[in-house]
Symmetry: C2
Subunit: 193 residues, 2 copies
DNA sequence: CAGAACCGTTGATAAATGTCAACGGTTTTT
DNA sequence: AAAAACCGTTGACATTTATCAACGGTTCTG
């Protein structure tokens, strides 16, 4: 269960964990299982936990006035799910996060994470690297969303994230790209030629 | 010249700097003046410096196949300008950054910054907070771009960033929002009623 | 001061994307 | 096994946004 998480930390931080550190991590992160469609976070709640996905697939989305879902993040194994703004500011989240497949996570509160970071240097390094990587990915996505047509955005996405294309149905991908499922269907038909 | 930067660090980190630390900062950051339209970074170059803006206004943008500029960031006093991806990965940047007004900056290389961070704990704290704040802002912007109509995006932007509305002309704001200047003009006309 | 560049606006038209309704084929649930 | 939910596709049509061209007013620059 904890194998993936420990491997993830080791890989990211490149600062081997001692066995004491490993034990501490195993003692702090709690296992959490979600059945398909179960919520990890509901709009209006404060996001208490961030979770590392050991197995499964999840999505994060807002719901607008008309009841339409707008997917902002997709997660699979080795991703971290959570709403950072809500966690940090302790404000009610605007997002829902739920399981798209049956999912196993390892969850931790922000306070626990801050505590662990004081005791385990590798975690600090990991977080810093994750932040950087995240900032870069966000920049790219934003740039693509502003500058490219729907067709090009889909192409780029499919090239860079084939795992998501396989795991999630098209209407989910469409929402993630900010277009309707009908438009995506037509774009794909067009591109096939 | 360094007053704004030191105040910024103090405010963010909330960890008063010693006078030795202040001296070290002043010795490391270099002043740089840019005249209006001058480049701080050009597409194809590796982004060597990140710069704190003491006075002035800047923009960051890519240029597409048709020669159209897509503005991804606007900066004014107390903002940091740079392309993180290029700085970290040492890859050629896809972006240009230039001065929209005559600008005074304090610039520093990534290596120098990492070095300073080892010596000045307040800087580490500041960077962490900036990263968080940045991640939150990016999340919001992305969410807004995906979920909202152009009209609502403009409204939100004008509400949250009145300083930018005053400092930059409409066609720049339009590009930042991912729409054309004509569309923005019509949206504003519409909204006035 | 004169010419050039810049800026916001408008109109006419085209292109991209959304909306709504319907369908058939799957998968899931009971 | 039957019913229900889900999924991708298609057609007809509406809406949003882009494109292109032109204009008058401003600001910059030599």
């Amino acid at each position: 269960m904890y194998k993936n998480l420990l491997a993830y930390i080791n890989q990211y931080a490149n600062l081997p964990l001692t066995s004491e550190e490993e034990s501490l991590i195993e003692a702090t992160f709690q296992p959490k299982k979600l059945r398909k469609k179960q919520y990890f976070l509901q709009e209006g709640d404060v996001c208490k936990y961030v979770g590392f996905i050991v197995k499964g697939a999840m999505r994060q989305y807002s719901v607008d006035d008309k009841g339409v879902e707008h997917i902002v993040h997709l997660y699979i194994e080795n991703y971290w799910a959570g709403d950072r703004e809500s966690s940090i500011m302790l404000t009610p989240s605007n997002y829902n996060i739920d399981a798209w497949e049956d999912t196993e996570m390892l969850i931790i509160t922000r306070a626990e994470m801050l505590d662990l970071m004081e005791k385990i240097p590798a975690l600090v390094k990991m977080i810093r690297l994750m932040d950087e990587r995240n900032a870069i990915a966000n920049q790219r996505r934003l740039s693509s969303t502003i500058s490219n047509t729907a067709e090009k955005r889909y192409e780029e996405f499919a090239d860079n994230h084939p795992q998501f294309i396989q795991r999630f149905p098209q209407h989910i991908i469409a929402s993630y790209l900010g277009i309707t499922k009908e438009t995506l269907s037509r774009i794909r038909k067009q591109a096939m030629k």
